[in-house]
Amino acid sequence: MKETFTKSMARNIYYGGSMFFLLVFIGLTYDTHQEIPKRDNHEAINEVVALGKRVWEENNCIGCHTLLGEGAYFAPELGNVYTRFGESTEALKGFIKSRPVEGIPGRRSMPQFNLSEEELEGIAEFLKYVDGIETARDWPPNIQG
């Protein structure tokens, strides 16, 4: 290869190329934000859901579960758990409430978080809201998440 390449040209491509693609990315980000409201189920967001998201975060649920595929892979996907639990927020609350304090011998168990009724309502409504987000190809692939 007697093709030569100079440092200054490599530098130009680095700066020019990355600026170029950053601009494209910002443009796409703009477009995405025009589209997101059509499918993000924001109509469902209210005070209860907001509290639910706080409960979700302050108990680090993402440290075991995935939500729309992101998080840890130790416990089931929760993006569609509302559907999986028969579209019942009561079932969700019941499950969270019933976790044994000392765990289950030899098995994985969700901790007992001692949530208040209000917090339980919040987390259940939050999960219901997430389930309503219109993901592409209706991800996850099936009810098992």
Binding site: M1, K2, E3, T4, T6, M9, G16, V24, D31
Partner: protein, 194 residues
């Protein structure tokens, strides 16, 4: 990269700086995948593609093709000129090339404007997704190419290049021809064949 090749036929090196060629190859890879994706997605959405293709502006597309080809031609002349040490002629050819590019941009903006005013976006349907991705992405490349051309135009005009040292002109020219080459495929693929 710098081993000596004595017993090899003397080939010309790729015109311009090799770094731009790495970039060109990468870009062609992206466009190539996009073209192939288009062709196969169409195969499975034939009705949709054929239906919406009718509404594309073939006139603008054809004019734009001629503009880009002509622009590319002017840039070829610019490289020829600088090789003969005629930097002012070269600058004039570059300016003409740039002008054609600008005209392309104007026509393209009009075309996009029409589509946008109809409320068409990337999410309208898969055909328009491809149409906007391909033409939009290409449009960005025209703009980038014009920035590069403008840059070398200024330098040529200031007599910074000559017959012995004109790598910069060739580098910019190579990129610009790539933009042309992509459009040569894009135009018939998206606007014409069905």
């Amino acid at each position: 990269m710098n081993h000596t090749d004595k017993n090899i036929v003397q080939y010309k090196p790729l015109p311009g700086d090799f770094a731009i060629w790495v970039f060109i190859f990468a870009e062609l890879l992206v466009f190539g995948i996009l073209f192939i994706s288009y062709a196969f997605t169409r195969k499975y959405n034939l009705e949709l593609f054929n239906h919406h293709q009718q509404f594309l502006d073939r006139e603008t597309g054809a004019i734009n093709t001629v503009l880009l080809i002509t622009s590319s031609y002017f840039v070829v002349r610019a490289v020829d000129a600088i090789k003969k040490n005629m930097s002012q002629q070269s600058a004039r050819w570059l300016a003409l090339g740039l002008l054609c590019g600008a005209a392309f941009v104007v026509f393209k903006i009009l075309e996009f404007n029409e589509k946008f005013s109809e409320g068409i976006t990337l999410s309208t349907n898969i055909f328009y997704m491809f149409y906007l991705c391909l033409t939009g992405f290409h449009f960005m490349h025209v703009l980038l190419g014009m920035v590069i051309l403008a840059f070398i135009l200024v330098k040529t005009h200031r007599r910074k290049y000559n017959a012995d040292d004109h790598d910069g002109v060739e580098t910019g020219a190579s990129y610009w021809h790539m933009v042309d080459l992509v459009w040569i495929i894009l135009f018939p693929l998206v606007y014409i064949i069905r």
